[in-house]
Symmetry: C2
Subunit: 459 residues, 2 copies
Amino acid sequence: MWYDTPMISSFLEPRQDQSFQELLELLRFPSVSTDPGHKNDLERCAAWVLARLEAAGLEARLFPTPGHPVVYAEKIVADTLPTVLVYGHYDVQPPDPVDLWRHAPFDPTVEGEYVVARGASDDKGQFFSLVLGIEAYLATRDTPGVNVKVLLEGEEEVGSPNLLPFVKKEKDRLACDVVVIADSSQFARDIPAITYGLKGLCYLELVVRAASRDLHSGSYGGGVPNAANALTRMMAACQGPFGKIAIPGFYDDVLELEPWEREAFAKLPFDDEKFRAELGLSELYGEDGYTTLERKWGRPTLDINGLHSGFTGEGAKTVLPCEARAKFSMRLVPNQDPETIGALVRAFLEEITPPGVTVEVLDHHGAKPVIVPRDGKPVQAAIKAYTTGFGREPVFVREGGSIPVVNTFQEELGAQSLLTGLGLPDDNLHAPNERFRVKDFHRGSVTMAAFLDELARIS
Amino acid sequence: MWYDTPMISSFLEPRQDQSFQELLELLRFPSVSTDPGHKNDLERCAAWVLARLEAAGLEARLFPTPGHPVVYAEKIVADTLPTVLVYGHYDVQPPDPVDLWRHAPFDPTVEGEYVVARGASDDKGQFFSLVLGIEAYLATRDTPGVNVKVLLEGEEEVGSPNLLPFVKKEKDRLACDVVVIADSSQFARDIPAITYGLKGLCYLELVVRAASRDLHSGSYGGGVPNAANALTRMMAACQGPFGKIAIPGFYDDVLELEPWEREAFAKLPFDDEKFRAELGLSELYGEDGYTTLERKWGRPTLDINGLHSGFTGEGAKTVLPCEARAKFSMRLVPNQDPETIGALVRAFLEEITPPGVTVEVLDHHGAKPVIVPRDGKPVQAAIKAYTTGFGREPVFVREGGSIPVVNTFQEELGAQSLLTGLGLPDDNLHAPNERFRVKDFHRGSVTMAAFLDELARIS
């Protein structure tokens, strides 16, 4: 399936050693965004990336932010052509605990199939792989058939505080048809995946208040409402039997999984028993009528994330808590809207508030669910590209989490994101001895070059 | 209603000034049991009390314990006579915060109707009032018609660690028909009360466990059980509608309130609206069909005392908690048994455990409920005695709490306790400026003398 084009055989393949040496250079910058002591390292890293993007045939510039700079580059061929925006980040997690690393975290070391270094997989190895693919495509086409933009931020590991303002401000500059993000992983070793759906989120906190102070349960018990009793009843009322959610209207906007999705998930190598055993669970439990992957990826959830009330120390204290709190969040699926769901939850909680207590519902955060149409040109191009780069079609998966940057691009640019992770599930992200498989680094470049080529062809 | 007997008019009344001076002496000992630096003060105080009991006509001795000594005294007249045991404690709470006192805490000072000092009401003033009553009775009767025993411990304020072993060991010595305890308060100013019922307690902790570690709700939500979800459902299932408890069999052994009790409670000056407002509650809430006092004193409860699970800090964390805990306790009424109730709860929780989680139930502590028959001789004598001492019949009340020493006497000696508090609800117990009303100090002595006299007469 490996189609031999000059882009690959004459450009990428002969340069593999050189590209890998460049990756090592990039990995040597200790660009730890959370540590002010590394501010200069981030700037040096950004400058290196900038220069490399220029060398790849793009017009690049730095955009300062109140934090670390954004590196932006573009190759605009013609307004009429489709535009691809590649997103990534050049900052990394702190390497702590440093003494658990087998080598210094910023001294990249090859171990078997892998290069081991902080940032190898998250995200330097991945975005640089895509940049090399872009370079190959641009270098080997007289007239490229797509416009390419590259946006690399330096604050992803600290929550991207300046990305949204930047995207809002530079909306026109960043305009694109599709965003390609390689900041996640394959479904499994040698099983590349396209993540075409993300769950949304509605995260709330229920605060139940009773008396103005904690009371002694001997003196007051029975005569006064108890905030913790009320809270448990309310949170239980939100949960229906068989893993369902009992909030009226909650399922109204849920897009049911389509037959092709259920078939695709069923074919994935996912072992319930292994999953159960690895988590130390006595048995798996979720919504009746769905498989584990369907539950995780395609069905909305309501999970309590934290409970706090009254006395929680060692032993016993006979107190009637005046306050009880439950943090809880709902993972949403298309087409549920976090604001609509929040309103339904508030209305229901108000309706079921027991006598004698007052209730406050705090909003933490929300995100809309995302789904990318499978029959669009970007997905069709990606299928072909993976077939070229990895020798097989990618599998189609969803994620249970939400990725804020995807929502940012969706909402600000109206652009869908293709999540095409090159890493592996055991890359030790955010942990000691982070690694990236060298073979996938090279296959990623081929895939990216093929993606641009194919998208140009079918557009 | 003040019946003039030599016991009162010739003995107690002429000695009032002297008795009060003696009370001041007793209050000057800084017998703070929790502070090892006061060990010597406790010993000096115990010696003073011992001498005073001897002077009152009793045979007294000290019993050392691993902590502070027990002072014991008795006047045995004849085996065939009823025996009264008076229980009290000569240790006091620490006076902290000392700078909130208007006078030095161990320099007793008269302020209007009150004497202000640490220990004035809790418990030196109260037990010494009874001792003076005993003295008057013994001094004015050629042949007393009751045996009297006095047990004063020095560790009540540190949880009486050595009282149970002492009572167990000295079971024969302490044998009695009734225990008189003056370590609480009147129902309200000038409304003396006999507390004839105490609730029992069954304090448990539910621990629900799911996976072997906390999980990310984005990666796992929906596919795995959530310990906090399960716990809220289980705790809610224990609660029925209308303030009832839904654990099967829970009410089987409940002694319903008798008509006379409901009438007596209804006559007490208790204002629901004032109670509600003082606690800052929007409304009162409890078991349907019962008044506030009936709920507090005569109906069993199930109250959650503490909840803890997952993330409880500021903000939001999308975690699926692997463990959730609820401390909860049931206040029991006669004839509920804490062990039986504990077994019912465990069986129910086991039955309703949702799939995928495991459950552990921890035992914290328990106490049996107590009720003293109103038609028994001690209660009948107490009614007469109060009428003598306070010029009115006492009201009959229960308590929602349990008092461990009452259970100790019930279980070890088979003796019922009469709780005949002389203090007032606003005596500032355990707080700065603790006080005791001087008038009640004297009325207590009269009441005690009359109680012994009346019990002897009707026995």
